[in-house]
């Protein structure tokens, strides 16, 4: 049995282990791994996700058990200090000695810390490990306690620096990115795209200081600012250094391996160092005189090293490494591939720039217009994967290459062919090196039919996840070639789409979930199909969530929004945001009585937080007595209809927007749908009610109302589009009735109106035909269905408090009167909030 020692249990060291143990021949080897960090390898690429969940386990690449189950001996918190290549042994910091047949160095890199005066001060950090992050978080907390407007600077405006900028912003500090070069991301972006990027980042609250050389770090003990020379300083409380990386090549020096002038252990295309029994992979390896600071090349190096050690000597590293990147950055899409920018004599560029939308796209095309050389996308990188593939595979360009970036998308199809046009060798998932052939083969040969199954079998999509849409398309297309219709199946328990289930329930008059499952499904259901079907029942029979309570999402089940500590919030309906002083006082009194945190919501009403489960019926009883009803803030149903004050008071108002908003809020309240939906009514085109940011909106104009549909805020904001112009109130209502009903019947679970409309073949023109011209002949049916829903509305909270069996559900324990002692609150600006997660 031969022994392989791996030094470094980072992303690439782990990948080496994973690839190695997957091979049958690996049984003849003993594998021992040393990691200096206190934990097993984790996903450094998604390090910033740690801010959101503080969950180190979620970042783990494999649990500790995995190593032992696969016969790997993992030694954590142990660094290797010496290599004695003549004896073929290593020693560790705790002075233990181990001998090897093969040694694999995967020690990665460390952040480069420039020798600036004062760099050792307290409050200066690097950003590479979970511990770095924890230290930053602790320091940020400390600052925030003493200073409400703490600031943090990031030294370096490259990929990582910007990510760190977002990270410190999420910590509640004001971020300032300081870059030496005149532009951001100097390696990936040209000046114009960098400019667009800068505008977008600034609008998000990230301050950018370009062309600044930092001379000195100010402060007495702890950092208080940066000095750029000539009285130019920036006051900050914290600094994160992100000025590039340096390979951790210390071990190479201990045994005289060949090194690069600027560091890194030199390897050949077999990943061998100058000592043939010692391999180097990942960010410590200098290949082609380059250190590749990305995971994908590192993973490929791991693959090569595994093969070399197992004597498959024909597997070698490609001569050229693709450095294309799409960033999961900070809410702005950024991607660059191939040659991102170049002088004009090398080729021609097509550039599209729209500063108002923060979009910049550039592609570089050869002089003969036949090949794509590279490009940049900022603000909208939706087409990155396919462009990248065209580039990698030298695919022919369309006659009008500009269509690749400005193609009239949505109408008349896109300028691209289908993903199926790619050659089989096209690398679809570069993190896990899965080709198009691999994905399609997994479907066609191995019979995997879902993205989950293909991901399990091939690992595609499990890295950065950027290839998911393309893999999805490939799976669908492959299934089609097998003659299988690809249906949108809601989950493993029903072989139907939501729309099909809707029709089944309606036509077969199914009355409850169990019957539907027995007659049309398999198994016992799950957390995906249960709430989806619950919404279908609600939309057809207008039954409240009280009837089939255990198939509802938790918020619907308890008619309240669960909060992060297991308490609930209470939101009564305040139609159109109009509220009387008497009602305000009543709400204030009740909130005070139950010690609830109160806040005005973004939906023009009042939210009361921190109610314990057993208090909900008591609170609602009092609210209902004061004339309130439920606001369905918990439901996938109508939320609010936002209004502006309109012509009753406003000097510009064209019509009574509040009156109209009150009327429609009462019309649609309680109607459950595939996702929540919201409305808005503005009294004139100044649009103070943001009606075009809603699922439906009305704007008063000279001569009537303009009707808009399919807008939303949220993660992908979208303006609603014009459905009808200058119509009277009755017509406006009829169109929106039909629109909502049509949406409810045909959308997928959790699909809001905007993505639904986007997917609707024929788009808005088609929708206009259906709801205005009745092209499908279903208008009367839609009208009747909507009217039935409107007529059967009841307040489900009233139902709950009046029905003893329902009321009984609101106890924390069924065998004790006690309440949950786990819930703790702390004080916050004269109110309260849940105690932080430990």
């Amino acid at each position: 049995m031969q022994t392989i020692l791996v030094v470094g249990n980072g992303m690439v060291g782990y990948k080496f282990c994973e690839k190695f143990v997957a091979r049958a021949e690996s049984r003849n080897f003993k594998l021992v791994v040393f990691g200096e960090e206190p934990r097993a390898a984790y996903d450094r690429v998604h390090l910033s996700a740690y801010f959101e969940n503080r969950d180190a386990k979620a970042l783990e690449l494999a649990p500790l058990d995995w190593y032992s189950e696969n016969g790997i001996e993992l030694v954590v918190s142990e660094s290797v200090t010496d290599i004695h290549h003549t004896k073929k042994t290593i020693t560790t910091a705790s002075e233990k000695e181990f001998s090897y047949d093969y040694l694999v160095l995967a020690t990665g890199s460390a952040p480069f810390v420039p020798p600036i005066q004062g760099i050792e001060k307290e409050g200066v950090f690097v950003y590479r490990t979970i511990e770095d992050l924890e230290n930053m978080l602790a320091y940020a907390e400390k600052i925030k306690k003493i200073k409400p407007n703490g600031r943090a600077a990031i030294l370096g405006g490259g990929l990582l620096g910007l990510e760190a900028g977002k990270a410190v912003m999420d910590m509640g500090l004001e971020p300032h990115v300081v870059e030496f070069a005149p532009k951001l991301m100097p390696r990936q972006l040209d000046a114009r795209s960098s400019n667009v990027m800068q505008l977008t980042l600034e609008s998000m609250g990230i301050h950018i200081h370009a062309s600044k050389a930092t001379n000195k770090i100010l402060g007495n003990g702890a950092i208080t600012g940066l000095d750029f020379g000539e009285d130019d300083t920036l006051v900050v409380d914290m600094l994160v250094i992100s000025a590039g990386i340096r390979p951790r090549d210390e071990l190479g020096k201990t045994c005289n391996l060949e090194m690069g002038v600027r560091g890194g252990i030199v390897v050949n295309d077999k990943m061998q160092t100058s000592d043939p029994d010692i391999y180097a992979i990942g960010e410590v390896a200098l290949y082609n005189q380059m250190i590749y600071g990305l995971v994908a090349p590192g993973y490929e190096m791991a693959e090569v090293a595994v093969n070399q050690i197992l004597k498959k000597e024909d597997v070698i590293m490609r001569p050229e490494i693709d450095m294309s990147t799409k960033l999961k950055l900070i809410g702005v899409d950024v991607a660059s591939f191939g040659i991102p920018y170049m002088p004009a004599d090398k080729g021609l560029s097509i550039i599209y720039e729209n500063k108002t939308k923060g979009i910049y796209k550039r592609i570089n095309v050869s002089h003969d217009g036949k090949t794509l050389l590279g490009g940049i996308m900022v603000g909208d990188a939706e087409d990155y994967s396919i462009l990248h593939q065209m580039y990698l595979n030298d695919m022919p360009l369309p006659d009008n290459a500009e269509e690749l970036i400005v193609g009239s998308r949505g109408e008349g199809g896109s300028a691209f062919g289908s993903a199926m046009d790619l050659p089989d060798t096209a690398m679809v998932c570069s993190c896990e090196a899965v080709t198009k052939g691999g994905v399609c083969g997994s479907v066609l040969v191995d019979g995997n039919e879902t993205i989950k199954a293909v991901a399990m079998a091939t690992k595609a999509t499990t890295g950065c996840g950027g290839c998911k849409p393309m893999v999805n398309d490939l799976i669908k297309e492959s299934l089609k070639t097998l003659g299988k219709t690809v249906k949108e199946r809601i989950c493993e328990h029903f072989d139907f789409s939501r729309q099909e289930l809707f029709d089944i329930v309606k036509l077969k008059d199914v009355q409850n979930f169990d019957d539907l499952l027995d007659d049309f499904g398999t198994g016992h259901g799950c957390e995906v199909c249960k709430p989806a079907v619950a919404a279908v029942f609600a939309s057809i029979y207008n039954e409240t969530a009280n009837r089939q309570d255990t198939i509802q999402d938790t918020n619907d089940r308890y008619l309240a929004n669960i909060q992060r500590n297991g308490t609930y919030s209470v939101v009564p309906r305040v139609a159109a945001g109009e509220i009387t002083p008497k009602q305000l006082m009543a709400m204030g009194r009740i909130a005070q009585k139950y010690d609830l945190y109160t806040k005005i919501t973004g939906g023009q009403r009042i939210d009361m937080f921190g109610a314990k489960l057993h208090e909900l019926p008591l609170i609602w009883e009092e609210l209902i007595k004061e004339g309130f009803e439920t606001g369905q803030a918990y439901g996938k149903s109508l939320r609010t209809v936002k209004s502006c004050v309109g012509s009753t008071w406003c000097r510009y108002g064209m019509d009574e927007s509040v009156s109209f908003a009150v009327e429609i809020e009462h019309r649609y309240k309680g109607i459950r749908s595939p996702h929540k939906f919201k409305g808005g009514v503005s009294g004139c085109i100044r649009e103070c009610a943001e009606a075009r940011g809603k699922d439906f909106g009305f704007i008063a104009v000279e001569g009537g109302w303009n009707v808009y549909v399919g807008g939303n805020g949220g993660a992908n904001p979208k303006h609603a589009v014009l459905l009808a112009e200058k119509v009277d109130k009755a017509a406006a209502l009829t169109y929106v009735d039909r629109f909502i009903m049509f949406y409810i019947k045909t959308a997928q679970p959790l699909q809001r109106t905007a993505p639904w409309l986007e997917k609707l073949e024929g788009g808005i023109t088609y929708l206009q035909n259906v709801v205005i011209n009745d092209s499908l002949g279903i208008a009367a049916e839609l009208d009747a269905e909507m009217q039935a829903l409107v007529d059967s509305y009841k307040c489900e909270w009233q139902e709950a408090i009046e029905t003893p069996e329902i009321r009984e559900r609101y106890t924390h324990f069924v065998n004790s009167e006690e309440t949950d002692s786990n819930i703790e609150f702390v004080e916050l600006r004269a109110q309260k909030m849940p105690k932080e997660w430990a």
Binding site: K57, A58, E492, C526, I562, R564, N565, G566, F813, N822
Partner: protein, 125 residues
């Protein structure tokens, strides 16, 4: 909070020392759950009527350490009974306690028996 977590340990049916009479079966919704208190423990008990089986597990979700699992939806994945946490929908096997959709710590499960109209949960203390 971690200390609380450690008080929950899976009990195998053969090791039960105390069968705790928790509550009447009618207190537990069909195909849903409710929470019971036993000494300092909070235990989620599920009436999986479609399988004609009862399950019990800790009420504490190991993700964010909240006492909420009894309010989760139950169901099954490849016929493995599971509960989805109401907060972030992490799912756990009701048989083994294993986290099915990720690599969270598993949850402790407890034996349940029905005698007469009552639900009993098995403990070792």
């Amino acid at each position: 909070m971690i200390a609380t977590l450690n008080t929950y340990e899976t009990v195998q049916p053969e090791n039960v020392k105390t069968w705790f009479k928790a509550a009447a079966t009618s207190k537990f919704p069909k195909n849903g759950g409710a929470c019971i208190k036993y000494k300092d423990k909070q235990i989620a008990v599920f009436n999986f009527a479609r399988e004609a089986t009862w399950y019990a597990c800790q009420n504490l979700c190991p993700h964010k350490m909240e006492m909420v699992l009894s309010r989760g939806m139950i169901g099954e994945e490849n016929m493995e009974a599971k509960v989805a946490c109401p907060l972030h929908k992490n799912t756990f096997s009701l048989k083994t306690g294993e986290n099915l959709n990720g690599s969270l710590e598993g949850i402790a499960t407890y034996p349940v028996k029905i005698e007469g109209d009552f639900v009993y949960v098995g403990f070792v203390d």
